[in-house]
Structures are given as C-alpha cells and as structure tokens.
Amino acid sequence: MRLSRALTTNTEGREGASRVAPLLSSGVSKGSLPGPYPQTPEERAAAAKKYNLRLEDYQPYPDDGKGYGDYPMLPNRSQQERDPWYSWDHPDLRRNWGESMHWDFDMYTRNRVDTSPSPVDWSTMSKTLLGYLGFMLLMFGLGEVFPMYQPVMPKQYPYNDLYLERGGDPEKQPKPVKHYEI
C-alpha cells in the first residue's frame, strides 16, 4: 500500500504531499531541470539555487519567446580566459564540479572560440588585415595590367630569313628582312 502510493506520480492537490516525483534511483528530479521564465522573486531565488548561482549573479535571458526559460545568462567568456594555474576540479576543462554551464559552452571550450583579450584590439586587427589584403589584390591587378618582361625581338634567321627553306621561289629575288638596327 505504501509502496503503490509512493510509486504514484500524481500528487497535485494532495495535502501534505512532499514528494513530487516517483521514488526512483536514477534520473533527474523534477526540480532540477530548467523551467519556465521566473516571474516572482521566489521563483528567481529558487532558480538561482537550482543553478548554483548567487541571487545577485543570477540573470535569466530576456523573455522574448526564444525559448531560454530560466536558464542563466552567463558572461560570454571562453574557457581559455580562465586562470590556468588555479586548481580546477577538471583542469583540462578549467571548470569546477556543479558549476552552471554557459548556454554555448560547446563553443567556448579551449579548442574552439577564444575570447581572451588580444594585444591589439579587434577593429585595428580586422582593418589592418583587410587593408593588407586589399592592397595586395590591387597591386596584383596593377601587375597584370603592367607586366614585367624582357624586351625581345623576332629571331633573325640567316639566308634571307630562310627564304628557300620556307618554300620560296628560287627564281624570284627575296625581299630583305631585317629585325635589327646598328
């Protein structure tokens, strides 16, 4: 009797119901999955506790129909930015156990996008690179229009420019062909 009651899932409306999930040894409990957007301060506090964040740090995504629910909006910082010398629980991931994961955590792993600050700021970098590429393309275009070559002349063959060998008439006098000047 107690076992069957414990196995039933519908506890809504029952007074004194403290368990809202079946007595199973595996699977997540209903309160630990992400839920809808928190409307009241109590829901906010419960959501912050669920995600292991302090209430001050907990900031959900704005509720504009994109489907984020109450998932926290963590700063867009890659794992590469985290302290390499701190003794993390998972040193290769630079993450502690139970820490709430970023929505795009698979993008911010150490093998992928890196948001760590660069010595030169982004706009300077992109402008320099694009400027360099544009300059190179322009100069290549100019180089195609004004190519470099060694000036050469047509080849001067002997025997009247090989008149007989090219099938000229032996009776006629060939016209002199001269490609050079002295």
Binding site: K66, M107, N111, V113, M125, F140, Q150
Partner: protein, 612 residues
C-alpha cells in the same frame, strides 16, 4: 627478356612491401619489444631506401619509366578504378629522397622520443604516414592519389596531437584536419568533374582528353587542394600550429614530405595547366602572396620551430610561384633539395631543444657555437642552403627559379614580392643563427647539452651531406625538360644573390643593435602585424567558428521550431494580418462626415458620367 622493366617494377614493389611488413606485423596483438621501433621500422626504411636506389640508377642510365596496373579493383561497365602505379621521373627521384630523409628522421627519433612510453606506436604512425605518402606520389589515378592524400592528412592529425593531454596540441591537430578538409573540397570537386566529363580517373586518359575541354573548374579545384595541403595563404595557419607535435613529426611531415603533396599534385597534373592562363596566374599570385606573408611573419617569431615552419611555408609559396611560371620540373627540384636542408634544420632544432631541457625560445638560447659545435655548424649549413648560397643544394633550385622569374612575361608585383621574400629569408635565417649560436648563453648553466650520441649525429651528418651535394647531383644527372633562358642581363642573373646579401647585411646591422638598449619593447604596428601572424589567426579563428557554431545552435534550437511551429502557422499569419491592418487602418482617422461627403460626391460624379 626485357630485364629493365622487370627489375624496375620488382624493386619498386619490393620497396613498398618492405615498408608494409612492419605495419602488418604490428597488427599482431602480442606486445613488441622496446627496440622494435629501431630494429624493425628504421631498418625497414633504410633497406627500402637502398633498394629504391636500383630503379633510380636504371632511370639515370636508360631513362626507363613504367606504369604498372596491378589490380582491377572496382570496374563497372562504364568506369574503371584500378590500383596502378606510375614510376616516372618525379616519383622515381622523390621516393629515394623521401626514404633517405625518413631514415635519418627515424634514427633521430629513436633518441628524441626514447623516454616516451609509446615509442613503438609513434614509429608505427610515422611508417604509416610514409607508406601513404609513397602511395600518393606513385599514384597513376586520382582515386589512389586521394587515398594517399587522406592518409597523410589523418596521420598528420594523429601525430600533431601525439601529446593529446595538451589542449593546444588538440587544437592544432583539429586545425590541421579542418584546413586540409577545406582543400579536399577542391580535390573532390576536380575528381567529380573528371569522373563525369572524362569518365576516367587515370592520369593518361585525363591528359589525352583535356584538349577538348575547358579545364578551368577542375584546375581551380586542384589549386584549392594545393592551397589546403601546402599551406598557401588563406589556408595556412595550420602549419605553424602543427609545431605542437614532436620535432621528428615536424621534420618529416611538415617540412619535407606532407606539405609538398599539394605542390606535387599540381606538378603531376601540370599538363592540364600549361595552357590555362587563369590557373597559372592564380598559382603565381597566390604563391607570391604566400611567400611574402609567411616570410614577414617569420621575422619576429621567437620559437625556433615556428621560424622554421614559416620558412617552410615561404618555400612552399616559392614552389607555387614556380608552377605558375610553367616550370614544374624546377618546382620538383626545389622540393627535393628543400627536403634535405629543411629536415636538417628541424633535426638541429630538436637537438638544441632537448639539450637545453626543452627550451624552444631563441631568446633563451645563445652561445651554442662553442657548446654544440656540430649542431650549430649544421644549422648554419642548413640556413645557408636555405638562402640559396651559391653551390649548396638550395642554390641550384632557388637561383634557377628566380632566374626564370626575372626573364618571364609575368605579373610585376609577383616578381617584386618574391624578391622581397628572398631577402627576408636571409634575414630570419641570420636571426635564428645569431640568437642560437652567437653571443653568450642566456640559459641555465646545468643544461644537459650532449652531442655525443651517434643517434643524433649520424642523421644530421647524412642530411648535411645531402644539403651540400644533392643539388649538384640532381642537376648534373637529369636534363631539364624545358630549356632555361640562357641569356639575361648581369643584374638579373645575380638578382637573387644581391637581395639575399642585402637581407643578410641589414639583419647583421639590426643584430648589432641588440646589445644597445633603445626601447624595452617594440611598439611599432609593423612588429605587431608580424608577430601576431598578420592578425590572421586572431581574427579568423575567432570569427568563423563563432559564426558557424552560433548559426548551427540557433538553427537547431530556435529557428527550426520557431519557423515551422510559429512563423509558418499562427504567429506568422497573425503578424502579417497585424501589419496589413495597421497599414490599412492608419488612414482611417475616424472622420465620418468627411468620408460621407466624399462618398456622396464621388457617387454623384459617377452617376452623372454614366448618364452622359
């Protein structure tokens, strides 16, 4: 009986089988002795080298080349795929050179990796790479070439990520695979075009039929493939990142053999490109841009392996320029001579790194000329050969290329860039030699400097011999297929030498300034550009993955559901209606009397018009 073809084919098949034997025995699950790597793999490679000299001598003596079709693998009624080997001028010369260099590198690796618990696996990977490379080089059809192509790519991934516990090594291995994959798009495009238009993947048939077709599309595909594999500009960042792998890997894969696979593909299929001006110009301009860009990046690097990696990339750009000049044989000559001195530079770097207790920063080396005389001498010989010092190995290929550049009708900017890059070569080579061998030591006194191990000295010695005499031997024995231009003005003939000397002198001048303190850190934007590799990795590696991954994430989680469940049904119709109704109701100001008056007026007008 015709002895020569039989001997040729037999010795070449024997070479391949000798290389395959350790791999096949490695499939046996019983663990191998720790010396298996040295006794089996190294011996196999050296034996294969000596046997591959037989066909080379036959080719020298009688000019025999052969094409062997071994097995009709997949043959349908319309399409044939065979296992066929082409042993022509290119593969007959390249195979012994690749085996010689690999033999030296394997011997060196037995010292370098001796403390590694998985040395046998390391040697197995290197041997598998070598087999894939030889399959690529001797392939007579595109499918076999593709097998070798992918094989070297996969082995590159496994070997760069050898120390997979290090996250940077994993990133570098991923970079190599992804960039090579982009190049593979081009190769597969060309293969698909050839299969559908020429109905064959055999090289002879492709050459024969190419006269009837406009080959621009497959040629651009092949150039894309070479851009990926040979690290030309645009797909180049994987090569300096690949220095995360052990030094023997850098020496074998990323200097002498794998990265030349792209150039080799273009050399092999050069007859398709000879008459296509667009493809030639693309090769020329891309190669010139690559060689200057990577030489610029090499000027300010501080990791010795990165400098050598960028110099490899610069030389690959030079080879691409040579292909753009319609000189495949000169490009091949440069591949052969480059293999010797580049592998030697890497081995010397590896020797220095291990001797200084794994220190790779040249700012923390110095004075090694007195402490490691043999290694520093070979480093200098290798650098001299790289810059094209007269009558060393690099001179015969590099000087011939620059002469051909100077006397051709070509893009003037490409010529200018190549000459500037040649002078930069001298600059960064001198920088390496200055920081590493000259001056006073900048490392801790108790460093395990030891040059007495023959496993280190003999490979470097062999490669040093190669760097000195290989150019002379190859050019004396093989006639050029295209006659070089014999007459040119004096200044053009010595142009390469002049720019190298100018580079060397300016580098010496700059090096003399290092002992005088002008500024603590350089703040010039040019230094930033060069040190951060042209800002290319810092921008592209942050932008492109972010765009693609967020797009993928957005599409999978939001856009698909939103569009099919909301936008195409209720919400979409609702928003359209709202828009239309707001537009339509804006003019509705609620002025009923005005509307009635206008209605009466217009209806009266209409009735009057109808009556009239």
């Amino acid at each position: 009986m015709y002895m020569t073809p039989m001997m040729l084919s037999s010795s070449l098949v024997l070479t391949l089988n000798i290389l395959l034997y350790p791999l096949l025995t490695a499939l046996d699950p019983t663990p191998k002795k720790p010396q298996w790597a040295s006794t089996h793999v190294k011996t196999a490679v050296s034996t294969a080298f000596f046997i591959s000299l037989i066909p080379l001598m036959m080719f020298l003596d009688q000019g025999t080349e052969s094409i062997m079709i071994n097995w009709h693998w997949m043959n349908t009624s319309t399409f044939d795929i065979n296992i066929s080997f082409k042993f022509d001028h290119y593969s007959l010369i390249f195979t012994p050179i690749a085996l010689f260099v690999s033999w030296s590198i394997l011997e060196f690796a037995s010292w370098y990796m001796h403390s590694d618990p998985y040395m046998n696996r390391f040697f197995k990977y290197l041997l598998l790479f070598l087999v894939a490379m030889i399959v690529l080089v001797t392939a007579n059809n595109m499918f076999q070439l593709f097998i070798g192509w992918e094989g070297v790519g996969i082995m590159s991934f496994l070997l760069i990520g050898w120390w997979y516990g290090r996250s940077d090594a994993n990133t570098a291995a991923l970079q190599a695979v992804l960039y090579n994959r982009v190049g593979d798009i081009g190769l597969i495009l060309s293969m698909a075009w050839m299969a559908t238009n020429m109905n064959s993947w055999e090289i002879q048939q492709i050459f024969f039929l190419s006269k009837d077709f406009n080959m621009t599309l497959p040629l651009l595909g092949l150039i894309l493939a070479a851009t990926g594999k040979s690290a030309q500009f645009g797909l180049h960042p994987w090569l300096p990142s690949a220095m995360e792998g052990p030094t023997p890997v850098s020496a074998l894969l990323h200097s002498s053999t794998m990265v030349v696979a792209g150039i080799f593909l273009l050399i092999r299929l050069h007859p398709l490109m000879e008459n296509n001006q667009l493809a030639l110009t693309t090769c020329l301009c891309l190669g010139a841009l690559t060689t200057l860009f990577t030489a610029t990046c090499a000027l300010t690097q501080n990791d010795i392996k990165k400098i050598v990696a960028f110099s490899t990339s610069s030389q690959l750009g030079l080879m691409m320029v040579t292909i753009g000049l319609n000189q495949p044989q000169l490009a091949f000559l440069h591949i052969c001579t480059h293999a010797f001195f580049k592998a030697m530079l890497f081995l010397c770097s590896g020797s220095i790194i291990h001797s200084l207790n794994d220190e790779q920063d040249i700012r923390k080396m110095g004075g090694l000329h007195k402490l490691m005389p043999f290694t520093s001498s070979c480093l200098t010989i290798g650098s001299l050969a790289l810059t094209g010092t007269p009558f060393l190995a690099g001179f015969f290929s590099k000087d011939a290329i620059i002469e051909a550049l100077n006397t051709s009708h070509l893009n003037a900017w490409a010529l200018a860039l190549t000459l500037i890059a040649t002078s930069f070569t001298a600059v960064y080579s001198f920088r390496v030699v200055f920081f590493v061998t000259m001056g006073t030591p900048r490392f801790l006194p108790l460093s395990p400097i030891n040059e007495n191990n023959p496993a280190v000295i003999n490979p470097i010695k062999r490669l040093a011999w190669g760097s000195i005499i290989a150019g002379l031997i190859i050019t004396s024995n093989f006639l050029p297929l295209k006659s070089p231009v014999m007459t040119m003005p004096f200044m053009l003939k010595l142009a390469a030498l002049f720019v190298s000397i100018i580079g060397l002198l300016s580098a010496m001048e700059l090096a003399a300034m290092t002992s005088k303190q002008f500024k603590t850190t350089p703040t010039l934007p040019l230094h930033n550009f060069s040190n951060m590799l042209g800002f290319f990795p810092s921008t592209i590696h942050r932008l492109m993955p972010k765009l693609n991954l967020t797009l993928g994430q957005l599409m999978a989680t939001q856009l698909l559901d939103q569009s099919w469940l909301e936008k195409s049904g209720p919400k979409g119709i609702a928003s359209m209606q709202i828009k239309m109704s707001t537009h339509a109701s804006d003019p509705q100001q609620g002025m009923i009397k005005t509307y009635l008056t206008i209605f009466l007026l217009t209806s009266t007008l209409a009735i009057l018009l109808m009556l009239l």
